[in-house]
Structure formats: C-alpha cells, structure tokens
Symmetry: C2
C-alpha cells in the first residue's frame, strides 16, 4: 500500500474532478497521465462492469494526430497491417513496429479522412517515433497531440445509456466503426470500441472544456441504470485476453510473439519500416508467444514483475499479468511461453513472490 | 492520499528491494519506472540531504545509448548545444529539441568515446525520437536502452562515503566529468553530477545484477556518516532552480523560455534539426521565461496542475512547482512568466486550489 505523489507531470484530465468526486481509490500512470485503477474494489468494480454500465476516464489514451497529404503514407510506414482497404469511419487495431520489428505501441488507428488520422495510443510516447520518422523522411504531414480525451462507456447497458445522451442512432454503430454525434453543439467521434469484453463505446472528447459536462450528463442519464465511474479492470481484461503494452509486451517482442499475427499483412504492407525485419518471422512463426495461463491454488498476489514459468529447473517463459477471477474460480494470467511448451494443457510451475504454484497453459482466454 | 497500483509496466529497478527495505512511503512514475519520492517525510528527507549523505535510486534516468560511426553526428542533430569541443570523459546538459524548437527532453549527455554516447534522460521516451531520426536519415548507428541504472550519492558527505567504496581518487572527479571505477571487478562510470545542489555523484550501474551489492556496500560504509536512502527532494530542487521536464517545461517550450539559452549555441550547432526554428528566438529572445516565484503567506498545497499567475484580471504566467521551504521560511516555486512581468520584484497573485496568495517574481533562485 504505497502512495502516489502527484505533480503536474502526472497530468490531470478533463474528467479528473468527476473521478475524484466518485471516490477513486488508486491510480496508475499512463502516458504521463493519471489513470484510475480502483473505485470500490477491483472485485466490486469487476462485478458491476459485467452487469451494468460504467463511465471510464481513459484520457490517457492520448491521440497522435496526422494531417496532410502524406498522412496515409506515414500511417502505413508505422504498421505491418495493410491499410489499403481502410475507409474513413473505420478503426483498426494496429501493431506499431520499429525497424527491427519490435513493438513500439499497440494503438487503435482512427481514420477520420484520407488526410487525417488519430492514433489512440497505449503507454509509450509514440508521438516521438512518428515525429522522428516524419522528419527523417521529410514527409508533408503535421504530427501532434491534439486536445482529445477519450471517455469510455462500457458494460452490457452501454447502448441504453449512450442512446439517452446521443440518440438512438448510436445503437447502429458497428464494432470498430465510428460516427459523428452532437453534444452541446459540438460534433464528437463516437466509436464502438473499448478496453473490455462487455461491449460499449469510446467518445473522443475534442476540447477538454466540455469534459465535465459530458461526464455529468452520462451520470445523470444513467442513474436508474446503476451507472458508476469505472476504469479498465485488471481481472476482466485478463479473462478476455486484452494485452497491455508494457505489461504483456515490450519493444523486445514482435507482433507475432504477442499473438497479433492476424493483424499483420507483412507481405503486402509495403512501406512499413519494420517489414523487412518481420518477413521471416511472419513466414516461420515466432519461437515464443503470448498464452492464457491458469494458475492453480489460492489467489496470487499482485503481479508487479515477471514471474518465471518453469518446467522443472528450466525457465520456459514468464507470467506478466495475473489476478484471481471470481467468475472462473481460478487465477487467470497472461504469459509468454516458449514454443516447446505453448500447447494447450501443458503443465508448468510459476514462481510467484509468495511461492511456487502449478499452472496450465491454454490456447484461448476465458471468453 | 491516493494509492498507486503496481504492475510490471511500472518497472521495478535493480535497487527496489533496498528502497522497500528502507521504508519508501510514496512513489512517482518516471520513464515507466518507479521513482521514490518520500522516505521519512519530504521535510525530514530535505534536512538530512543538506546535512549528511543519501543514496538515491534514480534508475528511472534511463540511458539512450548511441554506438557506431554516426553517433556524434546524430548527437549533434538532437541538440542546439555545440558539441564540437566535448571530449570523452565529459558530461553536458543538453536541451533536446524537435524541428519546431520545442523541448523533447533535457538530459545529460555522457560521451564515453567518439563513437559511443549515453543520453541520461528526463521523463519522456526520447529513445523513440532518436530511433526515428536515426532511421529516417539512414544513419549508421545503433540506438537502444542498455541495462544501465544510475545510483546517485548526494549530500555534503558524498565525497567521504564514495571514497570509502571507490577509493580516494573519486574525490578528484571534477564537476560534470566522469571516470571509470571498479566495483566487484566491474568497471563503472562515476560522474560528479546529480539532481541536487548539495554535491555528489552518479554511478552508472551497468548490469542490474550488482545493484543490491552496491546499494548495500554504500549503506554499510556510510553507517557512521548517517547515510540514508533518499530521493530527489521537491523542496531542495525548487530552492536550487532545478527544472523538471513535464512539470516546469513541455514540448510547448523552447530552451530559451526554460532559461536554458546558455546551453544553446544555435548559430554554430550545425546539423541540429531544430536549428532553423530556434535561430530567431536565439537572437530576439523568448516572450516568456522560467522564473523563481516566491509565494507569500502560509504553506501552499501540493502543486499538481498549473496555478495561474495574475496581474489583476490578466493571466501573465503560471506556477508549475511549489513547496514550503523551511530554510527560507516562505513558499518557493518555479513558474513561467510573460516578458512584461518577469523582472525582479514584480508583484503578482497566484491562484492556488486553496485560494489566492501574493507572489513575487525573482530572477535568481534560492542558492
């Protein structure tokens, strides 16, 4: 139970006043910004997320905006996913790789127009890489971080709540598509997306000045839906196999190691700076890969460092995220496992700070 | 009093076990890594730092390593400081700017050899910018983050403590120079530098495996010097005018606005990607600049957001860091002030969350 020291460097968000009023108990720091992690308790927030609807301050999903004639070219340089068929109005989950094929971020690209994109980033200063590439290749493109702060509405009642604030047509937004919706005379991007498996939306709030008005409007409209302030939930995201950059993958890993090969079209992603480095792994496959790991026995402690995965005395991987799952009555975890041991049902030992526990490798998450 | 949620993404350091055993009370997050902020109390740590000696886990000052024939060229591309006269064995404080002249980081460059540099970074993923530039300009250089974690020894008794562990010749290291010193058969860079005005050293611990051995050796050798675990101290760094990237400056600011014009040689820093953008401000000067701000009245609360600096109803700047100083019996602060109001002695009002307090602009810090 250690405290966090606040300073301007750990940026507040347009919704921080609402988050505080809702009784936030703990934060993490994500893209130099405060991200709530607990309101009532991780378990209570988890149960509520699965049954009602929550409003999440995910402002820390900062945007990298690309504008100008070379925007599309630059976007393709960043990712091994083939973007040729992507249309304005679509969102793509895009692995971003450096020239060695190492993951720099795993954002969602939002195509606003042929010459305007947002990249909604995970926890690394992707802005710096994109600006460096744009400058080095002398591209005609503006790259910066706009005043856009995503607010997520997640949970089974998300459609009902959103319809009350934005009108029934939000129900028609398809998965990973977005539309433009009015709030207080301002037109906002609303996408069907979010960092949970419970369904919902992300509102790209352009202009922090209307942040609290929107927060309050959602809270008031959802009172009888039992709306609560929430946040990405550790248990639910592990159950659903949602990876976290910096936890479950780093720049040491290729997209294929992260199980993101299905989001790569390495052959046809012409222009991607990491393409050459990835061609071989795209063809041969990786030597280690992300897996769902079930950890048997009692509830594990918080996972704040890699826990070795052992086959006897030999380390064959590590666990990077773990939590006790009330719904599945076991510890759910995400790990990276060597090819020799990654098949369904392989039995291993995991070395936690509180002792060794038996674990089973699974090929699918708890969905 | 909010808690921090730990996860692998907020990286532990080679010294974390020592930091915990020493009773760390609070952390911040810096370069995706844990940085202690309080051990006994901020005031008690401050008093001790000024009278004895402390060992600081500043692993979060991550290194960007440049290696290869284009290292020197790349280093000059990053900064408007002229590096032509810099020799191996020297450390330079170098503002790093983008193509618009905006500050991306304010690290210390360590020249290990003509073709090998470390950049000891402040809180932003400078690695991404440097890799992007190196790739875009097709330079022959390797850029990565090595396993190097700085450990600082700071305070008036730092020389005595360091001499006991590394030998008397550490006393001969001049300010912002470094030498190579042995510990457990390994050769480490030891520089006379650090983020305090009390004097001391930074040991660039190459190889995390010897981290705790060095930590323990320093703690044991310094027992009769009253050595304690410490950390960068908010009060002491404001008194000394040590800026903090992300707090007192961002990519919105030029080096000249940050008062770092003396570290720029914009005319002769040929190759710096921000040179064109900075030529005019280097000649004409900035329109706002960092200043020491004395805030009168009772102790201010923690400064976790910009506090407006007002001349009547007109905002003329903001405060970005502030703390009560026991030694100067006033609130010491760092702010950015418009040219019209930045002269010594100008009286302003500062709007804190607990009310408006009178403030005086100063041209020098509390040294």
């Amino acid at each position: 139970m250690t405290l966090i020291s606040l300073s301007r460097r750990l940026r507040r968000t347009p919704f921080s006043n609402g988050v505080e009023a809702a009784g936030v108990k703990a934060y993490t720091v994500y893209n130099h910004m405060l991200l709530p992690t607990v309101f009532r308790s991780v378990e209570e927030d988890y149960r509520h997320l699965k049954t009602a609807v929550q409003v999440w301050d995910v402002s820390c999903e900062r945007q990298v905006e690309l504008r100008g004639p070379d925007s599309g070219r630059l976007m393709q340089m960043l990712t091994p996913r083939d973007l040729r068929k992507m249309l304005p109005g679509q969102c793509y989950y895009v692995p971003i790789v450096d020239e060695t094929g190492g993951m720099l971020n795993d954002p969602v690209a939002v195509k606003l127009a042929e010459d305007r994109w947002w990249i909604s980033i995970a926890d690394s200063d992707l802005l710096y890489w994109v600006k460096g590439i744009a400058n080095g290749y002398r591209l005609d493109v503006l790259v910066d971080e706009p005043d856009v702060s995503p607010l997520a509405v997640q949970g089974p009642l998300a459609d009902d709540l959103m319809a009350r604030v934005f009108g029934d047509s939000v129900r028609d937004i398809r998965f990973f598509r977005f539309g433009w919706f009015e709030f207080q005379g301002r037109s906002l991007v609303v996408a069907r997306s979010g960092y949970s498996k419970q369904g919902g939306f992300e509102i790209y709030v352009e202009g922090g000045d209307i942040g609290m008005a929107l927060w309050n409007a959602l809270m008031e409209a959802g009172r009888d839906l039992d709306v609560h302030a929430g946040c990405p939930n550790l248990i639910e995201r592990i159950e659903g196999g949602l990876l976290s950059y910096g936890n479950d993958m780093t720049d040491e890993n290729t997209p294929h190691e992260c199980g993101l090969g299905r989001f790569c079209n390495t052959q046809t992603a012409i222009g991607c700076v990491g393409r050459d480095a990835l061609l071989r792994v795209a063809k041969d496959g990786p030597v280690q890969q992300v897996r769902a790991i079930e950890i048997h026995g009692g509830a594990v402690p918080g996972c704040d460092r890699y826990w070795p995965l052992m086959d006897g005395n030999r380390q064959v991987g590590h666990v990077s995220s773990a939590a006790w799952s009330p719904d599945f009555a076991t510890n759910v975890a995400i790990g990276m496992v060597r090819m020799t041991h990654w098949d369904e049902g392989v039995e291993l030992d995991v070395v936690t700070p509180s002792g060794i526990q038996a674990a089973t490798v699974h090929e699918t998450f708890w969905l």
